[in-house]
């Protein structure tokens, strides 16, 4: 076995280990979540207000853990597939519309409006691995929704420039503090105000998608102030 094969084997092993632990964690967390909720709903008998308060905190806490495990699974999956790239010539607009559809329920629940600013002319095809670029768009939209408030709008656009297409996701959320801006794409890094707003997050999302965009020969960057953030990334046109 050469070094490359050994490395591949190790990554597979790591990935399997994460899948197995995630499944076990989810099983234990299901037991806790279900129990807390049944006790709160008084399915098993009366409880006093103090007990109810404690159980509600426990339920919230187990739900945060579930979110974290789900995030771990999705990052593991993104890392897993990051070794196999299948490039194809596709229409980016269709992919964006598809991702937006996936988020329609979540954005509706949160009261955040997703606005796709479609280009006036038909754009050229791009040369990408659509499963990977889907992860990038999903991650940026998910962050925008997470850090927006009810009634806010998130704008998604795509524009052709020279030999690439630039995609942007603009929110009017909490912004990225000046001090944190340099580190935002770092592994495990989370901005100070993001931690305050959303207690759960691995700090791996932007790190992972930067790797994906760069593997396509594209760039990812952002502009941010306290009125919101716009993320941009580019993907190459097909030749």
């Amino acid at each position: 076995m050469n070094e490359n094969e050994k490395l591949k084997k190790m990554i597979e092993l790591k990935s399997d280990l994460i899948s197995i632990s995630a499944h076990q964690l989810r099983t234990s967390l299901s037991a806790m979540k279900w129990t807390f909720k049944m006790l709160i709903d008084k399915d098993v008998g009366d409880i006093n207000p103090e007990q109810e308060g404690m159980l509600k905190k426990s339920l919230e806490s187990s739900e945060r853990m579930v979110k974290l495990v789900n995030e771990m699974i999705s990052i593991n999956h993104a890392e897993d597939i990051s070794f196999k790239y299948n490039f194809d010539d596709i229409q980016i607009r269709a992919l964006i519309e598809d991702v937006l559809l996936d988020f329609s329920e979540e954005s509706y629940k949160k009261g955040v409006k997703l606005v796709f600013e479609k280009p006036k002319t038909k754009l050229s095809l791009v040369h990408i691995d659509d499963e990977k670029i889907r992860v990038v768009i999903q991650n940026l939209i998910e962050n925008s929704i997470k850090y927006s408030e009810k009634g806010d709008k998130v704008f998604i656009s795509n524009n052709q420039k020279d030999n690439f297409i630039e995609i942007s996701v603009k929110d009017t959320g909490i912004g990225i503090p000046q001090n944190d801006q340099e580190k935002i794409f770092g592994k495990f890094f989370r901005a100070s105000n993001a931690k305050k707003k959303e207690q759960v997050g691995s700090g791996l999302g932007l790190y992972t998608i930067k790797g994906i965009v760069e593997k396509h020969g594209g760039k990812i960057w952002f502009k941010s102030n306290n009125k919101g953030t716009t993320f941009y990334f580019t993907v190459p046109l097909s030749k």
Partner: protein, 123 residues
């Protein structure tokens, strides 16, 4: 008359919780911990809905799903796969075999499950 639900789940604690909650909601609940018990039960009476876990001690849930869908007696019974597996491949496979709903256990509480069952049985 109370609607009948068959829960196929090998984790006895989770099985007990689901059975209790659905009982509180007014359903008549039967439980099975493996495929043998499941088919014994199905042969005795046809439930109105089946809740199916995927990782079971004897055969996996996909096999059970396939067998149910191939049998003319049971093929129209709604089946919710209720599992903590959530890989794209698992979901696609379950859909191809004719599952009605695919729910990840940890993402729901049992009252949300009961709500989903109520909707499916109304159809």
């Amino acid at each position: 008359m109370a609607k009948k639900i068959l829960i196929i789940e090998d984790d006895t604690f989770l099985q007990g919780l689901a059975s209790r909650k659905l009982g509180v909601e007014g359903y008549e609940v039967e439980v099975a911990s493996d495929s043998k018990q499941a088919f014994n039960n199905l042969n005795k009476q046809i439930p109105d809905l089946i809740l199916l876990d995927l990782l079971l001690p004897d055969v996996d849930g996909f096999e059970i799903l396939k067998e149910i869908r191939e049998n003319v007696k049971w093929k129209s019974v709604p089946i919710i796969v209720f599992s903590n597996l959530s890989e794209e491949g698992d979901i696609t496979k379950a859909k191809a075999l004719g599952v009605t709903e695919f729910m990840v256990k940890a993402n729901f509480t049992l009252d949300e499950l009961a709500e989903k069952i109520k909707l499916l049985l109304k159809k």
